[in-house]
Symmetry: C2
Subunit: 278 residues, 2 copies
């Protein structure tokens, strides 16, 4: 197939490199930054750099832009995708993207499938892209009920070729609800954690637990603020939940109620242990 | 020296094994559980099992019990420690322990020094104890201003013999303030995190961030509830701080205020990056 990758950052660049390393597909790159275009060409990560109007030559286009940019790019270029071709995105939210781009693409005979490669790094940009970014990661896809079965097969097989460890199918709504909990909440809690004035004192004392809790505090605020606002209700539910739960521990401690405190901790321990077993 | 270890759980058992593996000190064990006594003897982790009244034969006693048990044991056995001998504890809080046990031991000519080996595992008990538990960990000690300098040297040198990567001296108050942030808060946040009803949905979607945030949710509720209540004011300060900070992200999201949200995330990212550099 001829596969176009739009946006050669960490994720798009890694798709190009993995495509060149593990498949025989022809890889076309779309990128606005001139230096990145040159790097992608000179490293052999793409076969050609093309302009958006040339996307008509692609059998499958992978849009690797920030969430709002992804929507804007697809709507602006809806007429540039070939009928019968497949378009996938890679954003960390699925419902708001699909709601915007699925209908206009369908109208033109183009199949849109939302996707979310569960991989990333704390760094962004083509220079951090690697062919192995997706090894051992889940590839979540959220096909519409109308999506042709063959198109779903094509995208699943591509994920396998690129060394994803498994393909998980979900609905956009379910995906967004789960991701609010497993990923978005983790980034906010981690980012809020380091805001204590005690941060300055922690040298020499930093235990593994502190390092674990704060690793993802180092995030890309442009991408994550966009993801958060596009998944507002699910994320607000998770934020309300953890604030309420933290308040329970706080109240028990204020009242010197060690039995309740121990009970709260035991509840959490058991939930964590069950989640490890299942 | 003759070194007594009181309480042969994960930490006490690891002290015994490290002492036998890396030093020539004579190791005496005090333990109530008969099976653990036998295991400690048969594995060669101690030279002898003794009763508390025989602690008079030890030059240095390491009390490896839960916080409140540590206080109770030292007060009950204050007359069993030899004058001029050194007693250290290993609890994760220091001020409340030192306040209770320093004066009565000093009165008897016994030198108490609070210590906190910054090492542990999610499991407890002698069967998980290893000679290498302390390798690459910090040994924090909180000597009193009256503590004889030679006793501080002895404990520092022992920490080096047991392969601790560094010895950090602090005051009990400073230790407790920092540990409330780097360790205690991490355990409560992690334990509260898994209480969302979304936990049940997370299979197949669990990103590294979720695993990081929830690793220490699996805690020993007896030990941690005791540590928390003995460090109430410092821990309440940290809980109030993170609840307030989480509320800021929540408010920005509720108002669709993406500029504030991005600013809050940027603040956290920069604080985390600075803490990595320093």
């Amino acid at each position: 197939m001829v596969i176009a990758v739009v946006g050669l950052g960490l994720i798009g660049g890694s798709f190009c490199k993995a495509l060149k390393q593990y498949t025989n597909h022809t890889v076309l790159g779309v990128e606005v930054d001139e230096l990145t275009r040159q790097n992608a060409l000179s490293s052999g990560s793409v076969d050609r750099i093309i302009e958006p109007h040339e996307l008509v030559g692609a059998d499958l286009s992978i849009i690797c832009l920030y969430p709002q940019q992804t929507i804007d790019f697809i709507l602006d270029n809806a007429d540039n995708f070939a009928p019968k071709s497949i378009v996938i995105d890679v954003c960390g939210v699925k419902e708001s993207i699909q709601d915007e781009v699925y209908p206009p693409l369908k109208e033109r005979g183009v199949t849109f499938i939302g996707a979310h490669p569960m991989a990333g790094r704390e760094f962004s940009g083509f220079e951090y892209a690697t062919a192995d970014l997706f090894a051992n990661a889940s590839f979540v896809m959220t096909p519409h009920e109308d999506t042709p079965v063959h198109a779903v097969f094509v995208v699943s097989m591509l994920a396998e070729q690129l060394k994803f460890s498994k393909v998980v199918k979900s609905t956009p709504e379910e995906h967004d609800k789960i991701i609010a909990f497993t990923s978005q909440l983790a980034h906010i809690v981690s980012n809020a954690y380091v805001k204590s004035p005690s941060l300055e004192l922690q040298k020499g004392f930093s235990a593994g637990s502190f390092q674990d809790l704060t690793r993802v505090a180092r995030l890309n605020e442009y991408m994550w603020s966009s993801l958060f606002t596009l998944n507002k209700s699910a994320l607000l539910f998770e934020l309300d939940t953890i604030i309420e739960k933290l308040g329970e521990y706080k109240e028990a401690l204020e009242k010197d109620d060690i039995d309740t405190l121990r009970h709260l901790l035991k509840e959490g321990r058991i939930l964590k242990e069950k989640s490890l077993i299942e």
